[in-house]
Symmetry: C2
Subunit: 336 residues, 2 copies
């Protein structure tokens, strides 16, 4: 009920608010506060269980011990996992995470980033959905900013992403090497960099092998996977001999569709996926896929962000933007 602020402690101890503040924020040394004062004040603070008001602290210091995390769809297991990893890593460094969801909308992304600003977050980790980095770079000038999972072609911002081109190429080449010649790729959000790069990698491999490749789909969702697979494999005269699902959600939808058509991976056609859900090993057959090292990406992103934050804190020269394409790995199982 009764409030505990610097003021009340100040009144109860007879010391000024300034002194109380300095003692309780551990600056007693620096300001040469007497031992007596330190003791009296800490005692009182302990007794009344004083906790600084973080809002007031943020207002005054323009810091908040909080990082803003912006993803385009937290309901997607991929981003849920990625978020979980980032939240965990930030927590380990004593930072809290404010999570926002842009829902693949540029407008929402704008809102969220502005919200982050006006809350004085100390840094931002963002899976961008916009087509141009201007806004991000502008904000990045004031607030340490790292792009994750998606990036911009030309930008001064740091980013940590999977090398989706190479990954898709690897997957496709593996299919080709296994003898599949007419591959259906089901992609995610076409405007997103990962999908585009995967399409590029896919087509590049298919073309240089003189095979046939088709790209369909428009979302990183189970439904999209189901719909597109169903549509493609329902047509009697289709001639696909393999499917490349661009995410594990798409894969699940695809498998559902195949089942409903009595088709089985490996037996009736080749199936390969892009993504890193451990449970792919538990499917029957286990799914061959290109795995993204999600934890590594999250961890590098957090690390990069803190490097920038540290540099700014000590007004050192900004480290050169770290622009990383993490190599995914082909995990061979039994689906093709």
């Amino acid at each position: 009920m009764e409030k505990n602020t610097l003021l009340t402690i100040s009144e109860r101890t007879g010391y000024s608010v300034s002194t109380v503040s300095r003692v309780l924020s551990g600056k007693a040394q620096k300001y040469r506060i007497s031992q007596a004062a330190v003791e009296r004040i800490t005692q009182e603070a302990n007794q009344c269980d004083y906790r600084p008001n973080l809002v007031a602290q943020s207002l005054r210091t323009q810091k908040s011990q909080t990082i803003g995390l912006l993803v385009p769809g937290i309901e997607n297991p991929f981003f849920a996992t990625l978020s979980a990893i980032v939240i965990e890593l930030l927590g380990a460094r004593g930072y809290h995470t404010l999570v926002a969801d842009s829902g693949e909308s540029e407008q929402e992304e704008l809102n969220a980033l502005q919200m982050f600003q006006s809350r004085s977050v100390d840094g931002i980790i963002c899976v961008p959905v916009s087509s141009s980095p201007e806004l991000h770079e502008k904000i990045g000038r004031r607030i340490p900013f790292v792009l994750l999972d998606r990036y911009f072609k030309e930008t001064t911002l740091s980013y940590i992403c999977t090398d989706n081109f190479t990954g898709a190429r690897m997957a496709t080449e593996y299919l080709l090497q296994k003898g599949y010649r007419n591959i259906l790729a089901i992609q995610g959000v076409p405007a997103s960099m990962p999908s585009q790069e995967r399409v590029r990698g896919f087509l590049s491999a298919v073309n240089s092998a003189g095979a046939r490749g088709t790209v369909v789909g428009d979302a990183f969702s189970v439904e999209n996977g189901f719909r597109e697979a169903k549509k493609a494999f329902s047509r009697p005269q289709h001639s696909y001999d393999a499917v490349f699902a661009f995410s594990s959600t798409i894969l699940l939808g695809t498998i559902q569709a195949l089942r409903s058509l009595q088709l089985k991976p490996a037996r009736d056609l080749g199936v390969i996926s892009f993504d890193n859900n451990g449970f792919l090993d538990f499917l029957d057959p286990a799914i061959t896929r290109v795995e993204q090292p999600l934890r590594e990406a999250g961890s590098k992103a957090v690390e990069t962000l803190f490097d920038i934050m540290d540099a700014r804190r000590h007004s050192l020269p900004e480290p050169a933007p770290r622009q990383l394409l993490i190599q995914p790995t082909l995990v061979v199982r039994d689906s093709c």
Copy 2:
């Protein structure tokens, strides 16, 4: 570079900070601000793209448009999914989410809850780890508070949880009915209400059927599932004919262990799981399980929280605590 605050707008328009504030927070009517003033001020605000400083706003109003979400382990897919759902639902209501992770530690839980307080969150959704509700109730008096997934036996707080007792009973009875007589249950964190209730339900069913039931394990993790299953089924003289995994993480570990021992669900023993990961349908065999309606729980929790918030906002009498045990459903597949 140039700041935009009420003060700067005030200077540029010639109106006082008060007037600018009232116009920009939509209270022009209420305070009878002239049309001229409203126009001049909104124009200036638009032009300089003014955004209120949410930190200052929070400090003044004690509101933050933010809900604190506390879970005991965001890296666990169950909580990752639950968090994602809650974050999404809160977002839809215009609220942001501050996520904290207690890591199953009471101390961390305490910290997080205090942090929430001192940040003036407008409400808290919490998966508790403490054994007693005192702290939670105390905070609940100041801040709308809802428990999710775990609850306390005697509490005045609202909670939304799965009926774990009934769920476990259902699962076990199904196994018994299928003829299994010696069941190994691998549980999660033993101190947690869900695990305890599931153990109760399990033993209750086993005992009243005169069958044998054993409980082992101590974490909601893949590793725990692997370790316990491996240990149990490695012993040549073991006589278990079925496994009940208390979560899908535990299940995955169990399956790994079984595989390593050349054992297969359904063929060699019965397997049943507690949890709601859609991908259980994609395993071979598909896993029979008790499903918790996660989205429903999240949604009810959010709804309940907002009911409390609304009541307090209008200083209506607090609604009676809503204490809900959601019924899980048995989803029969092919693993037993």
